[in-house]
C-alpha cells in the first residue's frame, strides 16, 4: 500500500469514528493523525537501516565483485565530476565580489590607459565604476630570498574597491599608490608562510621594490577566469616595470580589459547605448587622421556592446565551452558503459542468489520489498563509487587543467569541491545505481518459485528473456564503445593534421629564445649593438648550426600591423590594405628554413646605410601585386608623413602557425634598417643535436653577455606550435583515454557474454563433440553467438557516431564528422577486440572433454 492510499484510508477511518463517537470524545484528531504518520516514517527508516545492514553483509561476502563495481563506477563518476568541476570553474562560477550580477564587460577589444580614463570619467550616469586589468604575466618576484618566477597582474587603483573585494589582511590598493602591492592569499601562504606582519614589508618585482599593503581574501583569484595572480600592482607601476616605453601615454597601447559595474536599475543595453558615442569617439581618435573614409564610416556605425560578466572575464570560456561540452558527453557515455558493465555483473550475481531471493519471495516478501533490498545494494555500491570518484576528481581535473597552458601554474587552486559539486555527484551516483541495479532487480524479483528453489544451473539461467537481456546489454555496450572509439579516432586524426601541416618553417631542432633587454636599460643603438653581440655569441656556440632573430619570432601570435601602399595597387572601397610585419635579423628565412619563392634573403649588407628593402609573403604579393612580379617594386607605410619606399627583394612562402588559419599578408624588413626599437628580441637558432640539451647553455650564453638581460622563455618550435593547439591536444588526449577505456570495457563485456554462453551450453557442446563436431566447429559456434550480439551493437554504434558527429563539427580539422574511414576503422578495431575477447572462452569450449561435459549435466 502506498503512502497516498494509507493517508486516505486514515482520514476515512478517523471521519467514521468521529461520526460514531463525536468530536469531543476523541480529542485532538490532527495530533492523532500526525503521530500515526510518525509511526510509518519510523518504520520506513527502520526498514531502510535493516536493508542497509543486510546489503553491507551481502556485499562483504563478495569482495571481488564489490571491488570491480566500485572501481569502475568510481572511475566513471570521478571523470564526470572532474569535467563538471572544470566546467564550473571555467564557465559557471560567479566571481566572489559584491553583487557580481551587476558587472559587465566591454565587448570592445583591449583598451589603452587613455581610453580607460575617458570611459571612467564620462560614464558616471550609467556605471558606478569601471575597473581595468592588464592580465597576469610572469615576472621575477623576490621576497628577500632571491628571485623566483611568479604571476604579476597590473590593475587599476580602484580595482579592489570597485569590485567590492576587501583585504583579508591590511588594505587593498587605492587610486594613487604607485608602489604598493597586494598579495594573493595563496602566495602569502606560500612565500611568507602566512605571517601576519607581512604588511609594510618590501617585495621586489624584477628590480623594483614595492611595499606590501595587504593580502586578498582566499577565494579571490582575480577577474580573469583561469588566471591566478600572485601579486597585484597598481597601474602606475607600469612606468617602472616597462622603462622607456610610454605605455600609459600612448592612445594605441591597448593592454587593458575593462569591467564596469552597472548603476542600480540600469540595464546593460541602456548603458551600452549611452556609452556608444564615447566609444566611437575614442576609436576615431585611436585610428588617427590617416583613416580612409570607408573605415571611418564603419567605425561610426559601430555600436558598443556590454555583456553581463557575473562570472568574470574569460577568453578560456569562449574557447573551452564547446570542447568541455563534448568532453562531458564523452565522460557521460563512459559512465553509462561502466554502469552497464556492473549491470551485467549484477545479472550473474542474481543468478547465484536465486535461491535466497526465491525463499524470500516464497515466505511472502512483496516484490517491491525485494526490489528495494536489491536497489539498496546498488545504491550502496554506487555511492561508494561516488566517494571514490570525489577522491579522484581533484587530481584528474588538475591534470586536465594543466594541459591548458593558459590556466597558469596552479590550476588546482581554482578547483573546488563544494555544494553544487556534491549535489552533482549524488545525482550522478543515483542515476548510475538506477542503470546498474533496476533491471537486474526487476528481473530477479520475478522469480519462478519452483525452478528457483531447485537452483539448477540450467533451469535458473535458461529463460529466453534472461539470455536476451545479456545479449542486449553486450550490444548496447559495444554501441557506446564504438561512439567513443570513433570519437577518439576523429580527434586523433584531426590532431595529426593540425601538427603535420606545412607551416612554411622547418621546425626540426629550431629553438626560440625570448630575450628582454629593456629592463636592463638597453635602448636605441645600444640595443641593436647588444643584439648584434648576442647573435654573434649564440651563432658561434658549438652545437648551434645557425642563428638569427626577429621582433615577433615564429608561432607566437604576436604581430605588428599597419596600412600599406604598393606600386600599382589601387585600394577600392572595401579592399583591405593592412598587413602584418616583423623586423628581422640577417639570413632570417634561411635560418628558420622558410622557402623563398623568388628573390633573395636579407644579409648583413642590408644595414642602415644600404637602400631600404623588404621581403613579402606570397599572400602579400597575391594581394598587393596581383598582376606583376613583386621583385623590384616598392611598398610603403601609408600613414607616414613622408613616403619612404621599401624595395621588395624577395617573396617567401606563407608562414602559418595554425592550419585552420588562412594565410595572412606579411612583409619583413631588416632590423638594422628599422627606425624603432625592438619591443622584444626573439632569437631563433637551429641546433645540431636534440634541442633540449642546448637550453641551459643558451641561457648561460645570454647571461655571459650581460647578467641583467632577462631570458623570458626558451621553447622549441614544436612547443610553440603545441601551445597554440592546447585545446585540441586536451580533447585528443582525453578522448584517447576514453576510447581505450571503452575498448577495455567492451572486451570485458564480450568476454563475459561468451564465457557465460560456454558455461550454459557445456552439456550441448559435449553432445555435439560426442557426435563428431570438430574443435574449429565448436569455436565457430561460440564466435557466432558473440557475433550475433556484436554485429547489431557495432552497426547501431556506427549510426549513433555518425549522428553525434555533428556535435563536434567545429572542433575537428579537415575531417568530416561522419568520416567513413574513421567509422570503418573504429568498427573494425572494435570487432577485432570483441572477437579477441571471445577467443579465450571459445578455446576453452573447444578443449572440453565430451565425457566430463556430459557428466556435468
Amino acid at each position: 500500500m502506498n503512502w497516498r492510499d494509507r493517508e486516505r484510508e486514515m482520514q476515512e477511518e478517523l471521519k467514521a469514528l468521529e461520526e460514531i463517537a463525536g468530536r469531543k470524545e476523541l480529542g485532538n484528531l490532527t495530533l492523532a493523525a500526525e503521530n500515526a504518520r510518525a509511526v510509518w516514517r519510523w518504520a520506513w527508516l527502520d526498514g531502510l537501516l535493516a536493508d542497509l545492514r543486510y546489503a553491507v553483509r551481502i556485499l562483504l561476502r563478495q569482495p571481488g565483485f564489490v571491488a570491480v563495481a566500485v572501481v569502475s563506477l568510481g572511475l566513471g563518476i570521478g571523470a564526470n565530476a572532474a569535467i563538471f568541476s572544470l566546467m564550473d570553474t571555467l564557465l559557471w562560477r560567479q566571481l566572489p565580489v559584491r553583487e557580481p550580477e551587476r558587472l559587465v564587460t566591454f565587448d570592445y577589444g583591449t583598451s589603452s590607459y587613455y581610453s580607460f580614463r575617458q570611459f571612467q570619467a564620462r560614464s558616471k550616469d550609467v556605471l558606478e565604476d569601471i575597473v581595468a586589468t592588464a592580465g597576469a604575466e610572469m615576472r621575477d618576484l623576490d621576497t628577500g630570498g632571491g628571485p623566483q618566477a611568479g604571476e604579476v597582474e597590473i590593475v587599476s587603483g580602484n580595482y579592489f574597491t570597485g569590485l567590492g573585494v576587501t583585504a583579508a589582511l591590511g588594505r587593498t590598493l587605492t587610486a594613487d599608490d604607485p608602489d604598493a602591492a597586494v598579495l594573493s592569499y595563496a602566495y602569502w601562504r606560500r612565500a611568507y608562510g602566512g605571517s601576519p606582519d607581512v604588511v609594510g614589508r618590501t617585495i621586489r618585482v624584477g628590480k623594483f621594490p614595492f611595499t606590501i599593503c595587504g593580502v586578498a581574501p582566499p577565494e579571490f583569484f582575480g577577474v580573469q577566469v583561469g588566471d591566478v595572480a600572485d601579486v597585484w600592482l597598481p597601474i602606475a607601476a607600469v612606468s617602472a616595470l616597462y622603462p622607456g616605453r610610454h605605455i600609459l601615454d600612448g592612445p594605441n597601447y591597448n593592454f587593458l580589459e575593462l569591467l564596469g559595474r552597472l548603476r542600480d536599475g540600469v540595464t546593460a543595453q541602456r548603458a551600452a547605448d549611452a556609452l556608444t558615442p564615447l566609444a566611437v569617439a575614442i576609436d576615431l581618435e585611436r585610428a588617427g587622421p590617416g583613416v580612409p573614409d570607408w573605415v571611418r564610416k564603419n567605425m561610426q556605425a559601430q555600436r558598443l556592446k556590454l555583456t553581463p560578466a557575473s562570472n568574470g572575464l574569460s577568453y578560456l570560456r569562449r574557447r573551452f565551452s564547446k570542447p568541455l561540452r563534448v568532453l562531458f558527453a564523452m565522460v557521460a557515455i563512459g559512465l553509462l558503459l561502466a554502469a552497464i558493465n556492473v549491470m551485467s555483473l549484477q545479472f550473474a550475481r542474481a543468478d547465484q542468489r536465486r535461491r535466497e531471493l526465491t525463499v524470500r519471495l516464497a515466505i511472502g516478501a512483496g516484490r517491491r520489498r525485494v526490489i528495494r533490498q536489491l536497489m539498496t545494494e546498488s545504491l550502496l555500491l554506487s555511492f561508494a563509487g561516488g566517494a571514490a570518484g570525489l577522491l579522484l576528481c581533484r587530481p584528474v581535473a588538475a591534470g586536465l587543467a594543466s594541459l591548458i597552458r593558459s590556466m597558469g601554474k596552479t590550476p588546482e587552486l581554482l578547483l573546488r569541491i563544494d555544494g553544487p559539486m556534491l549535489l552533482f555527484v549524488t545525482a550522478v551516483s543515483t542515476a548510475a545505481a538506477l542503470v546498474c541495479g533496476l533491471i537486474p532487480a526487476m528481473r530477479a524479483s520475478r522469480a519462478d518459485l519452483v525452478n528457483g528453489l531447485q537452483q539448477s544451473s540450467r533451469s535458473a539461467t535458461d529463460a529466453p528473456a534472461s539470455r536476451m537481456l545479456g545479449r542486449v546489454a553486450a550490444s548496447v555496450q559495444l554501441a557506446l564503445s564504438l561512439v567513443l572509439i570513433a570519437g577518439s579516432f576523429l580527434f586523433a586524426f584531426s590532431l595529426y593534421r593540425l601538427t603535420h601541416f606545412d607551416t612554411g618553417v622547418n621546425r626540426e631542432r629550431l629553438v626560440m629564445l625570448d630575450v628582454d633587454a629593456h629592463e636592463a636599460g638597453y635602448k636605441g643603438a645600444q640595443l641593436d649593438e647588444l643584439n648584434r653581440r648576442l647573435l654573434a655569441r649564440v651563432g658561434s656556440m658549438p652545437g648551434i648550426e645557425r642563428a638569427t632573430f626577429s621582433e615577433n619570432g615564429v608561432f607566437t601570435g604576436r604581430s605588428s600591423n599597419d596600412q600599406m601602399g604598393a606600386d600599382g595597387f589601387q585600394a577600392p572601397a572595401g579592399k583591405r590594405r593592412n598587413a602584418f610585419f616583423d623586423n628581422v635579423g640577417p639570413a632570417f628565412f634561411t635560418t628558420i628554413g622558410a622557402r623563398l619563392v623568388s628573390g633573395r634573403d636579407f644579409t648583413e649588407a642590408d644595414d642602415a646605410a644600404a637602400p631600404k628593402v623588404a621581403i613579402v609573403s606570397r599572400e602579400f604579393a597575391r594581394h598587393f601585386f596581383p598582376d606583376r612580379n613583386p621583385i623590384g617594386q616598392n611598398i610603403w607605410h601609408v600613414n607616414e608623413k613622408q613616403k619612404q619606399p621599401l624595395q621588395v627583394v624577395g617573396v617567401v612562402e606563407d608562414i602559418r602557425r595554425d592550419a585552420r588559419q588562412q594565410p595572412q599578408r606579411w612583409f619583413y624588413v631588416p632590423q638594422w634598417q628599422a627606425k624603432s626599437d625592438l619591443w622584444s628580441t626573439r632569437f631563433l637558432v637551429r641546433t645540431r643535436n636534440a634541442p633540449g640539451s642546448m637550453i641551459a647553455s643558451l641561457r648561460a650564453a645570454v647571461r655571459a653577455e650581460d647578467k641583467a638581460v632577462h631570458v623570458v622563455s626558451i621553447d622549441t618550435a614544436d612547443q610553440l606550435l603545441n601551445y597554440n593547439i592546447d585545446m585540441d591536444r586536451l580533447i585528443a588526449a582525453l578522448s584517447f583515454g576514453f576510447g581505450l577505456l571503452a575498448m577495455t570495457l567492451a572486451a570485458v563485456g564480450t568476454y563475459g557474454l561468451a564465457a557465460y554462453n560456454v558455461t550454459r551450453r557445456t552439456g550441448e557442446i559435449g553432445i555435439r563433440m560426442a557426435l563428431g563436431a570438430t574443435r574449429p566447429a565448436v569455436m565457430r559456434l561460440v564466435f557466432r553467438q558473440v557475433w550475433q550480439a556484436a554485429a547489431p551493437g557495432i552497426l547501431a554504434g556506427a549510426a549513433a557516431a555518425a549522428a553525434l558527429g555533428r556535435l563536434v563539427a567545429g572542433l575537428v580539422f579537415q575531417m568530416k564528422p561522419a568520416d567513413p574511414a574513421v567509422l570503418t576503422s573504429a568498427a573494425l578495431v572494435l570487432a577485432a577486440v570483441s572477437m579477441g575477447a571471445a577467443w579465450i572462452p571459445a578455446r576453452r569450449a573447444a578443449r572440453l572433454d565430451p565425457m566430463v561435459a556430459l557428466r556435468n549435466e
Binding site: 469514528l17 460514531i20 463517537a21 480529542g27 484528531l29 492523532a32 500515526a36 509511526v39
Partner: protein, 110 residues
C-alpha cells in the same frame, strides 16, 4: 494514572482477544474494564493501533457497526495472539516481582 511503556500495546491486544472492535470501541472497552480509572487518550491510542498493524499483530477491515455505521474494525492476527501470550507472562512476572518488593508496609501505618 500514567501508562508504563508498552502497556498500552499489550492492553489493546488483550482487549481485541474478546473480538473485533473499531478504534473508539477499543478506547471505550479499556476505560470500562479498568473501572473508569484508565482514561485512554485517543491521540495516543490511534498511533499505537497503526504500530501494531505495521508489526502484523492486528489487522483491520471496514465493517458495519451495530448502529449501522461503517468503521474500521481491528482484530487479532495469529502473530498477535502469540505476542499477547508472551507479553502476558512477562507482565505477570513483572507484577509479581514488584508486589514482592513492595509488600505491605510495616507498622500498619498508611
Amino acid at each position: 494514572m500514567d501508562l508504563l511503556q508498552g502497556t498500552l500495546d499489550m492492553m489493546v491486544l488483550r482487549t481485541l482477544l474478546m473480538g473485533p472492535l473499531h478504534g473508539y470501541g477499543i478506547a471505550k472497552a479499556i476505560r470500562t474494564k479498568s473501572g473508569e480509572s484508565l482514561e485512554i487518550e485517543f491521540g495516543s491510542l490511534y498511533p499505537a493501533l497503526k504500530r501494531l498493524e505495521l508489526k502484523g499483530w492486528i489487522a483491520a477491515k471496514w465493517e458495519t457497526s451495530e448502529t449501522k455505521r461503517q468503521a474500521r474494525y481491528y482484530r487479532l492476527t495469529p502473530a498477535g495472539r502469540k505476542q499477547l501470550a508472551a507479553e502476558h507472562s512477562k507482565w505477570a512476572e513483572f507484577v509479581d516481582a514488584v508486589t514482592r518488593v513492595m509488600g505491605p508496609l510495616p507498622g500498619g501505618e498508611a
